[in-house]
Symmetry: C2
Subunit: 272 residues, 2 copies
C-alpha cells in the first residue's frame, strides 16, 4: 500500500460494559476512525476468574474482531490485559494494546518525586496477577507500590449504586489501607472504577491523584497510530459498531451510564 | 431391575457456589446417596443473563452430569430453574428437580391466611422471568404476590460481606417496598440469600416468615425418591464429588462459607 491511510476498523473488547469508559475517550480523540466494540456480556465478569479461563475468553473475543478485519486490537479490560495479553499476542499478528502499560506510564509521568507511593486498585484477578507492580518495576525499579483488590466496585457500578451511603461505606472500608499509608498516585486498574472517581477522590482526599486508564489508552493509541497503525482518511465519517455475547437490551441501558450523550443505536448479539 | 435400589449418583448444579446451600441440606437428609456437584464458576453469575444464554449453559452443565450417569438432576440455582428448566426437560429423559416449585409449595404450606401477601426476592433474571408468581398462580390463584430483584446480594455474599454496615444499608434499601407494604412470607429466591437470612430477618421483623429454597428442595427430593427415583443401598457410604468450570482454589475457600463443617477435599476442574 502506498496510501498513508488504513480504513480498516479498530477492535475494542471488554468482559462487558466497563470498556465503554475507554471507548468514550477514543471516540472523542479519533473522530474519523471506525471502532468495533465487543462486550462479552454472557460471561461477564472476568474479575474473579483464572488465568486459564481469561486467556481462553480473551482469544475467543479477539478472534471475532480479527475476523472483522481490524487493523488493531485494544483490550479495554484490565483483567483481560493483566491475564490474557501474553497469550493473545502469541496467538495473533494484529497489534494489541492493553490498559496496564499505558496506565503505568501515565502514573510514572505524573509522579512528582522519586519517593512517591503508587497505589493500584483492581479486580481480584488483576491484583493477584501482579501485572501492575511487575510493569511498574520494569519501567522504574525500586518504587513503593501497594495493591488492593476491590471486588465489589464492579457490581456497584453495574447496578448504578453510584451515590449511595452503602457505596461510600464499601469504598471507605476497601481503601482503608490507603488512609493509613497514603498513596500519591492511585491507578484505577479496572475500567468500571472511573465511574466511582468522585467518591474515591472524596475518601482519599486531594493528596492522592487518580489515574484513569481510559485516558492513558488514548495517549498510547496516539503513539501507536504514529508507529504501527495508519489512520483512516481524514474525511472519513466516524462509525461505532457494538456487539455483545448476551442480550442487547440491558447493555443499551447500562451503556448510557458509561457513554453519556453518545447514542448506542444498534447492538448486535453474537455467539462465540 | 428387580432391586429396589439405584446406586447411581444424583447430579446437582449451580452457576457457582450458591447451590452449596442446597447441597448442604441434601447431604444431611440423604446420608447414603452419592452426589455430584457442578459449579459453572467460569461463567458465574447467571443472575443478569438472558433466557437464551441461561438455557444454553443449563443444558451444557446438565450434559456433563448426564454423562456421569446420574439418576436425577437438581438445578440448585434459581436463575437456571426459572429460565432454563423448560429447555432442559425437553432436552433430557433424566428426572429434573428445580427450586422454584418446591419453594412455592413450601410458601403456600406455611401460609396462615388466604389473604396473606407473599414476597419474592431473587436475581434480576429470575424476577424478570415471572417464574415464581406464575408458579404460585398455578398452585393457588388470586394470591397477592410482590417481587423484587436484589442484584447486589450475590456479590456481597460471594465476597463475604455478611456482617457489614454497608450490607445492612443495601438490604434495607432493596427491601424498602416490603416495609411499606409488609409481606407475610418472603421466598428467598436465590441460593445465595440464606447466607443473609439474619440481616433480612432483622430488617423485615418477626412478622415476615422467610422461606429457604434449600430446605424446600429436600422435601421435594424426598417425594421424588418415593415416586420416580430409587435410593441407594441403605448401607452405602455417602460420597460427594465436586466439579467446577474455573479454578478450584477460590471455590474451596468460598465453599467453606456455605457448607460449614463439611470438608471439600478435592475439586476437579472441567471444560464444558
Amino acid at each position: 500500500m502506498d496510501t498513508p491511510y488504513d480504513s480498516r476498523p479498530i477492535g475494542i473488547f471488554d468482559s462487558g460494559v466497563g470498556g465503554l469508559t475507554v471507548l468514550k475517550e477514543l471516540i472523542a480523540a479519533f473522530p474519523h476512525e471506525h471502532f468495533i466494540y465487543l462486550g462479552d456480556t454472557a460471561r461477564v465478569p472476568y474479575g474473579a476468574k483464572s488465568v486459564r479461563t481469561v486467556e481462553r475468553y480473551t482469544i475467543q473475543v479477539a478472534n471475532f474482531l480479527i475476523q472483522r478485519n481490524v487493523k488493531g486490537l485494544i483490550a479495554a479490560c484490565n483483567t483481560a490485559s493483566a491475564l490474557g495479553l501474553g497469550a493473545l499476542r502469541a496467538h495473533c499478528e494484529t497489534p494489541v494494546l492493553g490498559v496496564i502499560q499505558p496506565g503505568c506510564q501515565k502514573a510514572l509521568a505524573e509522579m512528582k518525586s522519586r519517593s512517591g507511593h503508587i497505589g493500584i486498585i483492581g479486580t481480584r484477578s488483576t491484583i493477584a496477577s501482579g501485572a501492575y507492580p511487575n510493569t511498574l518495576a520494569l519501567l522504574k525499579p525500586a518504587l513503593k507500590v501497594s495493591s488492593l483488590a476491590c471486588p465489589l466496585f464492579v457490581p456497584l457500578v453495574e447496578e448504578g449504586w453510584i451515590n449511595h451511603g452503602a457505596t461510600r461505606l464499601i469504598v471507605e472500608e476497601n481503601l482503608a489501607p490507603f488512609l493509613k499509608d497514603p498513596v500519591d498516585i492511585l491507578i484505577l486498574g479496572c475500567t468500571h472504577y472511573p465511574v466511582l472517581k468522585p467518591i474515591i477522590a472524596q475518601v482519599l482526599g486531594p493528596r492522592t491523584q487518580l489515574i484513569d486508564s481510559a485516558e492513558a489508552v488514548v495517549e498510547a493509541l496516539e503513539k501507536l497510530m504514529n508507529q504501527l497503525l495508519l489512520p483512516t482518511q481524514p474525511d472519513a465519517k466516524q462509525r461505532v459498531d457494538f456487539y455483545v455475547t448476551d442480550v442487547a437490551d440491558r447493555f443499551q441501558e447500562v451503556a448510557g451510564r458509561f457513554l453519556g450523550e453518545i447514542a448506542v443505536d444498534r447492538v448486535e448479539m453474537v455467539d462465540l
